[in-house]
Symmetry: C2
Subunit: 341 residues, 2 copies
C-alpha cells in the first residue's frame, strides 16, 4: 500500500475526490434556505458519515436514508437523532437490524401497504411514516387510502409520524412557473393525505424542488445530491457548485484523442456520459474514457484529468472512499461507509 | 447475519445470481469452438476467481485482465499460468505489485507508448505485448509505429510476446457478412503490425466477434461476457444463454405497476434499462425498478423477480458476491473477488 497521498498527482486512479470547501459551501447555502429540521438531508446521494458531520455542523439533525444499511450505519456512527428510511422493505432481518438500533436511535420506516406495515410491526419497529403516491409511478399508497393505512398502523401499536411523498417526476422540469404549479398540485394531494393520516411531519422534495416548498405545507425537504452536485442538476441553475469529481490518469494519447483510466465502472451512467471541462467526451468503456480537447492537442500520458459525473449518487456508490481536496492538495480521506443494502 | 440461504426466496435483495449449469454450458460451447489457448478468457466481465475455475475445467489456462487488481488477484488465486493485462497503466505501485507476482506467475502487460514501456520496465515487468490501434479510438499504438515500439522494448531488455488489438467498434454490427468483412480489414492491420513486431501471439476479439477469427491470423480471442451474457449481446443470436440475473423483491404494488428493490446502483446502466421476462420495465431509480406485467395484474409485495442486465460487466462489478443457483435452489456463493483497480 502507498503512504497517504498529499496531492492528486499521487492518487491511484480512478479516484473519487470531494472538494471539502465547495461541499461545505453548498451545505451552508442550503442551510440558509432550509435551516435545521426544515431539511432532512438524504444520505443515499453521498453514503458517507464523514459528510453527514458537515450537515450536523450546519444545524441539521434529521436524516433521510434509502437503504437499511444506511440507517444502521448512520445510527452506529452517532447520527441517530432522527433517521427516516424513506423506502419500503419486507426484509425481516434488515428490519430487525434497524429495530435493534432503537435504544440509541430514533428510527422511522416508510410503509405504503399492509404487507410493509406488518413486516415493520413484526420486527419491532416503533415509528412509521405513511408513504403517499403523489404522481411518480413508484412506491406510495394511493392518497385516498393513506388514512386507512395510518389507522391500521395505530391499531397495531405503531406511532405514525406523518406522511411523505416524492415528486421525483418533476425534478427536471425546467420552467420555474410550470414546476411550481406542478409541485403545488402534488403537495395538495399530500396535504389532503396528511389530514387523513395525522402526525406532525409532511416530508417531500429533493434537490430539484428544494426551493419550491415555502407555501406547500411541507414541513421538511429531503435533498442530498446538492452537497456534491452533478452535470444533470447543474442544468437547473441551482446555487450549488460541483464538489465531486473522479480523477483519472491519461494512459494513452494520440494526435486526435486521449484516454483516461476512468471508465463506466467508476461512474453512474444512467444520465449518460460524464463531462471534462474544456474537452469533449467521445465515449466511456468499462475502464476507459476517450476524449479530446476543445482546442489544441490531447494531453500526454500521465496527465491527471478531473471528470464530472452526470449522476452523482450512483457514482459515489462505485467507490469505497473519497479523497477530500483543497485545490489539488489532499487533506483527508472519507470512507464511503454506507454502501450496500 | 443470516445463515446460508438454500433458495432464492431466502436471499437478501438485490442479489446477483449465476445459474451454474448455464454458465458451464456457455463455457463448454465456447471451448468447443475455441479450445485451450485459442481463447484467452477475459476476467473483466466476471471478476470472479471461482468462475475462472470453470474456464480451467474447460481447458483454458491463459487469461485476459483489464486491471492490475484482476491480474494480482488471479495470480494469488493460482491462475497465473499466463496472465495478460490487456490495458495500459503508468501506475508504478500497481506495476510493481504485478511484477512481484512474476516468481509464481507469467505476467504480460500491454504497452502502446514509450511512457507505458518505460513504466513497465521501471517496475521490473518482464513480458509485454504491443497494443495496436486497429480502428477503435481508444488505446493502441498506430500500426505503423508498432515495430519501432517493439524494438525499443527489446532494447530495454523486455520480452515482446506479440501484438493485441481490439475491434470493439464492430461488436454490435448486426449483418454477419458486413461484420466479417470489417473484422478482416482490422485484422489485416494487426497482421501487418505483427510482422513488424515479431513474437508468437496475435490477440484480438471479444464475445461479439469470437466466431470470426478462423482465417484472420489471430492466434487467440479475448472474450468473457459470453459466460454470463446480457440483453445487448443476446441481440446477436449467439449460442450462449443468459446465466446471470439480479434478483429483487417486490416492495410496492398497485393496480397498474409494481416496484422491486433492484435499482440502478445494482446494475450497469450504460446499455440502458434491464429487462424482466413477461414484463415491461418502466424506469430504474437508485434503489427501484418500476415495471408492469404484459398480461394480468402486477405481482404482490414479497414476490421475487429476476432482472436481466443490459450490460453484464458493470452489473457484476456492483456486487461483492454472486449466489450460484440451480433453478431456484442456491448451491454456492462466489465472491466477486477481483473488483476494483
Amino acid at each position: 500500500m502507498s503512504s497517504q497521498p498529499s496531492h492528486i498527482a499521487q492518487l491511484q486512479t480512478p479516484a473519487l475526490i470531494i472538494d471539502g470547501e465547495i461541499a461545505t459551501q453548498n451545505i451552508a447555502t442550503m442551510a440558509a434556505e432550509l435551516p435545521g429540521s426544515r431539511l432532512r438531508p438524504h444520505m443515499k446521494a453521498t453514503k458517507c458519515t464523514s459528510l453527514a458531520k458537515l450537515h450536523v455542523l450546519a444545524g441539521h439533525h434529521t436524516f433521510t436514508c434509502a437503504t437499511p444499511q444506511e440507517v444502521v450505519g448512520m445510527a452506529r456512527a452517532g447520527f441517530g437523532t432522527d433517521l427516516l428510511l424513506a423506502n419500503e422493505t419486507v426484509d425481516d432481518l434488515r428490519l430487525a437490524a434497524m429495530a435493534a438500533e432503537q435504544d440509541q436511535a430514533m428510527i422511522t420506516v416508510a410503509i405504503d401497504s399492509d404487507a410493509t406495515l406488518h413486516a415493520a410491526h413484526r420486527a419491532g419497529i416503533k415509528n412509521v411514516m405513511i408513504d403517499v403516491n403523489i404522481g411518480l409511478p413508484r412506491c406510495g399508497v394511493a392518497p385516498e387510502h393513506a388514512g386507512r393505512l395510518a389507522d391500521s398502523a395505530r391499531s397495531a401499536g405503531l406511532h405514525v409520524r406523518g406522511v411523505m411523498g416524492y415528486e421525483g417526476h418533476l425534478m427536471m422540469v425546467t420552467t420555474h412557473s410550470e414546476k411550481l404549479e406542478k409541485v403545488e398540485a402534488c403537495m395538495a394531494l399530500l396535504r389532503n393525505a396528511a389530514n387523513d393520516v395525522g402526525g406532525d411531519i409532511i416530508s417531500a422534495g429533493g434537490t430539484g424542488t428544494y426551493n419550491m416548498h415555502a407555501n406547500t405545507g411541507v414541513t421538511e425537504v429531503q435533498a442530498g445530491s446538492y452537497s456534491l452536485m452533478d452535470t444533470q442538476y447543474a442544468q437547473l441553475g441551482l446555487p450549488f457548485a460541483q464538489a465531486a469529481f473522479v480523477v483519472g490518469t491519461v494512459i494513452s494519447s494520440s494526435a486526435k484523442w486521449a484516454v483516461i483510466d476512468v471508465g463506466l465502472k467508476s461512474l453512474g451512467m444512467d444520465h449518460g456520459n460524464p463531462s471534462i471541462d474544456g474537452h469533449r467526451v467521445w465515449f466511456c468503456s468499462d475502464e476507459h474514457t476517450t476524449f479530446s480537447p476543445n482546442d489544441g492537442t490531447p494531453p500526454p500520458v500521465g496527465t491527471r484529468i478531473r471528470v464530472t459525473p452526470a449522476h452523482i449518487d450512483p457514482t459515489v456508490a462505485q467507490h469505497d472512499a473519497a479523497w477530500v481536496v483543497n485545490g489539488d492538495d489532499i487533506v483527508d480521506r472519507w470512507a464511503i461507509d454506507l454502501r450496500g443494502w
